[in-house]
Structures are given as C-alpha cells and as structure tokens.
Amino acid sequence: MDFSLNKEQTMIKDAVERLMHRHYTFAQRDTYARGAAGWSEAMWQRYSEVGLLGLFDSDVGGPVEAMIVMEAFGHSLVLEPFLAAVLLCGRAVQRAGGGSHAELLQDIAAGRLLMAFAHTEPSSRYELSRVATRATCKDRRWILSGAKSAIMHGDCARRLLVSARVAGEPADPSGIGLFLIDAGSAGVRRTGYTTQDGLRAADLVLDRVEVVAADVLGPPGAMFPLIQELADVAIAATAAEAVGAMQALHDMTVAYLKTRRQFGVAIGTFQALQHRCVDMLVELEQARSMALYAAMMASEPDARSRSAAMSAVKVQITKSSRYVAQQAIQLHGGIGMTTEYAASHYFLRLMAMQARFGDGAHHLNALASIDGREVLPAA
C-alpha cells in the first residue's frame, strides 16, 4: 500500500503539467477548438516529444502513468485524441497484433498515425458485445458491412480499428473480430461532428469494405476479451480525466465565491453555499479515490474482477461528476450558464463522459447483477 509516485511517474507528471501550463490556457484551448481539426497538431507533436504517445506500451507506462496524464488533461479539458489513438488503439494493436504491427506502433508513438476505435453502433448503447456489423470471409479477404456511431476522433483518424461479427447473434460475446481499415477505403462513408464537450467524433457506414488478412487483429471471433479490456482502460482513463476536471471546477467555484459580491458581501460568506462547496469536495475526493482504484485494478488479469471494479469506478465517477458539475453551475449562477466562462465547458465534458463506456445506471445495474456478500474484489 503506497500512494506515492516513483521518479519516472513524477517526471511524467511534471512534464504534462508544464505543457498544460504553457500551452493550454482557456484562451489557447479555444483557439485549438476553433481550428479545422478541432484540436492542436502542435500539441500532438509536443506530446510525442515528451513520450506520451508511446504510453500504450506496457514497458513504458501502465495504468498509473495513464492516470497521471489523463488527470492533467482533464484539468485543462484537452482536445487531442490521446485516449482514442494512444490508450485504446495503441494498446489494442500492441496486445493483439504482436510483432506484425510494429511499424504501426512506431507511427503512433511518433505522432505520425492517428487511429480510432470504431466499436459502438447506433443500436448498441452500452452493451459491449452488441455488434451487428458483419464480417464475412471471401477469398482470404474479409468484407465488412454495418454502421458505427459516436467514434471518438473517428473524423480525423487515418486508420480505423473496427469490430465486426464473424459469427453468432448480435449480443453474443463470442464471434467478434477486430479489423484495421483505412479511413479512405472504398465503401467507408463517414460523418464527422463535434460532440457536446468539444471533442470530435464520427459516425460510419461500412458498405462491403475489404480487409486483407494482414489487417486482421488476432484470431477473428475471439476478440471480445480485448474489447472488454479496452473499455476498462477507457473507464480508468476517463475516471482520472473526470477528477482533473472536477478539481479545476471546484477551484474555480471557490475562487468565484470569494470574489462575487451580492447583498454587499462576497457570496462565499453564505453558509449554505460554503457547505455546498464542502459537499463538492467530498464528492471529488471520493472520485479521486476511485480513480486510484481504477489505476490499481486496470492491470487485474481476471476480467470479471476487473470489470466489476470498473463498474464501481464509473458509478462513483458519474455520481461525483454530476454533483460537482451541477453545483458548480448553480453556485456560479448566471455566469456559469455562459460559454464565455470556462465553468460551462467543464460541465459539458463531465456530462459527455457519462454517455461514453456506459453510464452510471448501466454500471450500477451490472454490479447489482453480481452475486455475493461483496461484489467488488478486495483492494
């Protein structure tokens, strides 16, 4: 039991925080958001320079390193596709691709290649195994048809990691494969858009898209465990991101209460508002603890224990995010409602997170479906 960071972790933390401090003020972020890509190519190169884009590699960084980066990113509401391209796709390729995709991994780490994880579908909602996109094998090629939706940073990715069903019923965990396709392949139609929290995403329609054997990741039909692992990685990452965002929002709210005056006094002198701030802090600290738990459990090899832990993480993060974000706006009053002021953007990020990788209700339901005197694995 040791909560301290080691030397390498401290270095990563310092490096990321320095980048954020220099290049990610609210005004700078706004400039990035208004650019064509919706994020900063220059920042992406900086991340690459300090080694962040190689963090999918378990030799370089584990869940704790991911947590450190994501917390700092959440604190500044970072727009770049780090989660999608690095933590998810990088990891997937490394885990499943073995040596055959070494070049891909180098390209990712060097910031030369953007990938996106095209898994969710218009009717899958939060069920990981609900994959209706079909892959059929024909002359040693796979033909993919179906639709994918809300693909994080799917608009800018050059390559897409697509899940598709090679066998079984729509919600069957077995029978799912992972395929690499070029975004520009024949038969790919994509619609890019901005999400509520200022990130980019895409919906895809795949109409008989061809995939050569070399672009099949792992044994087709047996990729659900990896997909589940990626979802768990994503939950752990967004938990840390949420903590960073909540911390920033809490600080902002406290600062506002000290300066805003009504009825002749700073509104921070009103006890009801003070206590609300304390309750926000309680929720924040509970969330922070669960982000730590997520980092600890993300490398748990037993998939059931790991997923149960991540469900617990999502339940707490959702509850905390909801309270902290809603109260932050309430305590700011009118100014919190405007997009000119940073608080609203934090609200949007914390709201949008809830609809990714399962909302609180989904994960509470998952926990309630587990039998036992305890449903969570012991720390």
Binding site: T120, R125, A150, A272, G334, G336, T339, L348
Partner: protein, 399 residues
C-alpha cells in the same frame, strides 16, 4: 372537499384539448415535441391563433381580453397546452408586462399597449437583471435621468431573454440614487429601436442563443412610457412575482417530458431487452411521477386558495412551487438525457435552434442534451433556489 375535477372542469378540459388538437400548426407542434426552439415567427403566429380565439391572455382582466376563468381552469388550460406540445403564450408579454400595465398603467397606456401586447404586435423582453444585480436584483444601477418629458437611460442589462427578437423592453431603472435601494426604481417601457440600444448575444452552455446583454447608452424614453409612479417600479414588479411563480413550476411540461422519456425508453436497447423494461428505469420514472403528482396537488391547493381569496401571493408555498417545480423540470430532462444516452453526444445547436439542417442520429435524441443543459438555468433564473429558500426561511423562521 372534493379533489376531483368537476364535470364542468372536465368538459372544459375536453374543449381545450380539442382546440389545441385542431388549431396548433403541425410544424410548430413537431418542433416543440422534439424540443427544438420555435422561431420568432412561430411564437407570433401561435400567439395570434390564440388571440383570435380569445385565449391569448387568459389571466388578464376580461375588459382587456382575459377569459375570466378561475385559477383551476387556467391550470387546466396550461396543462393541456403542454401535453399538446403547444408553445407557451409569450410569457414576457402575457404574464409579465401585460398585468403590470393593467394594474398600474393609465387609461391611455392601457388602450395603446394592451391590444398590441396581446397580439404580439409588440414583442417584449424583460430588462431586470444586471451584471452586478443578479440575485440581489434591487442593486440595479441602470440610471434614468429626467430631462423634460424624456428620461435619459444609461446602463447595462444582462440575461435578457428574447432581446434579439424583441421590439420593446420593460425595464427597471434607478430614478433616485438617494433612496433605499428598493425605493428609487421606476418601471419603463423602452422601444428597442431607440437610438443607443445595443444588443449583444450571450451564448449559453446548450449552444443556444436565448439571452443577451443589452447596452443602454443615453437612450431617450418618453416619460409617458413610465408605468405608474416614479420610484415605485420595484413594488410593481414584486407585486406580480407571486402569480408568475405559481406557473413557473411548469408541471405539465415536466409531465409531458416524463411521458416522452417512457415512450422513448421502449426504443432503447438495454440488458437484452429495452430500457423501458429495466426495473431501475421504471422505479426512477415512477418516483418522478409521484413527485409530480404531489406538486400538482400542491399547486392546485395554492390555486384554490387564490380562487377563494383565502391565500396570498406571499404564501411561502408559492416559493415551494418554484423550488420543487424547477428541480423536477431538471430531473425529467435528466431522465430524457439518460434515455438518449450516446445519441445525445453530437452537438447540433443549429438543429436544436430550429434551423433547417440535417440531424445527426435520431431526431428524438438530438435535443436531450440542449434541453437538459438549458434547464440548469431553471434553478438560477427568475429568483434562484437559494433566494427562494431565503424567502421561505424568513417567512417561516421569522429571523
């Protein structure tokens, strides 16, 4: 005591329902049902349809176009309006400025303004809040200095809904700097086309353009546009707040949202079945329905007291309607957001604002987020929940 609607009241409900069914333009209804914003034209068009039937300004005194309905009928009318997915009559005109003109305006003002207000020949916005006067509204600093038969008005208003669409603004201004802060305020009607009026949009977190900053720079306002006495404006504004708050609960709207959430949950997959079949969802929806039922009865109790003139607009129960009503509006919107799930992710403010653009993902889910987002203001604007609690505390604790 009989808490059922009387046969006459039920018949009235049927008549109202049939009216809405037959006259509400389909394109307006569809917009409202999908949670998209009606345009200025939609608002005006609908208000004129109501006005043609004599139902635009139902609460006004009958000599100025009111229906003479008692409070319970007013409530039924509103409820059916929400359930029919009809837009509200323009509240700034109907609920806010009209009754003030009726109560405190002179004959000439009434004859000039009231028919135009009722028919939205004049589209009004409300100029109350200011940057430094939010919850502490009486701290407002916009000054009006008398200059012959004009006031010269200078200052800045904030959170002004509809200012970008309005022809006129009713406005609180300071006319006496030396008096106690509530006692030096007057109530003016300002033509938005006047020289010196500038409107700057304020975008809210839903991405919509609902509110504005209004800059008033040496704006000339004829003294004849002052309603009532000089320096009594605060009391006029306050006088009518109670009546407004009775309706701000918008229970019918929350009920309609809850119904919509249940309908849509049947389309959403969850746990091998649909979300509508999930027990947790059903309990959440049922719990909200219970609270809405309770609040509906609380509202009817207040309305009944007003009808029998045993209650007053100072009743702390009225603040309760605002506190609880805004919470339930938010809770039902949040339930819809939950139903929409990942479909709520695309940001499409243009579509939500009623623009003629393509919708990403299912239309039914596309406004879940903006509606949830804009409703965060329900507990802030119109007297925040904290201010309402202060008011009730003062009344019950007497401290």
């Amino acid at each position: 005591m009989d808490l059922r609607y009387s046969p006459e009241e039920q018949e009235f409900r049927g008549e109202v329902r049939e009216f809405f069914r037959s006259v509400l333009p389909r394109e307006i209804r569809d917009k409202v049902a999908l949670g998209r914003l009606p345009s200025r034209d939609d608002i005006v068009r609908w208000q004129r349809i109501l006005n043609a039937r004599g139902w635009a300004v139902t609460q006004w005194a009958p000599e100025w176009g009111g229906t003479g309905w008692d409070t319970v009928r007013q409530y039924i009318f509103r409820e059916e309006m929400y359930l029919a997915d009809a837009p509200e009559p323009l509240s700034t005109n109907v609920t806010l400025v009209g009754p003030v003109v009726i109560a405190f305006g002179n004959e000439q003002q009434k004859r000039h303004f009231l028919p135009r207000i009722a028919n939205v020949d004049m589209f009004f916005c409300q100029g109350f809040s200011e940057p430094e006067a939010g919850s502490d509204l009486a701290a407002l600093r916009t000054r009006a200095v008398r200059d012959g038969d004009q006031y010269i008005v200078t200052g800045q208003k904030l959170w002004t809904s509809y200012a970008h669409q309005a022809d006129w603004m009713f406005c609180l201004v300071r006319t006496d700097e030396s008096a106690r802060k509530q006692d030096g305020i007057s109530y003016l009607l300002i033509d938005m086309a006047s020289k010196g009026v500038t409107v700057k949009p304020v975008m809210t977190l839903d991405g919509g353009h609902h509110v504005n900053e209004v800059f008033l720079n040496d704006v000339q306002v004829p003294v004849t546009n002052r309603i009532g006495e000089e320096n009594r404006g605060w009391h006029y504004a306050k006088f009518l707040l109670g009546n407004e708050r009775i309706l701000t609960g918008r229970i019918g709207l929350s009920k309609s949202r809850l119904r919509r959430a249940r309908d849509l949950a049947a389309r959403v997959p969850a746990g091998g079945s649909t979300l509508a079949a999930s027990h947790a969802f059903r309990e959440k929806a049922a719990a909200l329905e219970v609270e809405l039922k309770a609040l509906e009865i609380t509202t009817l109790r207040v309305l009944d007291e007003v009808r029998r003139q045993t209650g007053t607009a100072q009743d702390p129960k009225i603040s309760i309607l605002k506190i609880k009503g805004s919470e339930l509006a938010q809770a039902t919107a949040e339930l819809l957001l939950e139903v929409a799930g990942p479909h709520a992710l695309p940001r499409q403010e243009d579509w939500a604002s009623g623009a003629d653009v393509a919708c990403i993902g299912p239309e039914w889910a596309a406004t879940a987020a903006p509606n949830y987002l804009y409703l965060r203001a329900a507990t802030i604007f119109g007297g925040s929940s904290e201010i309402q609690r202060n008011i009730v505390a003062k009344n019950i604790l007497g401290i």
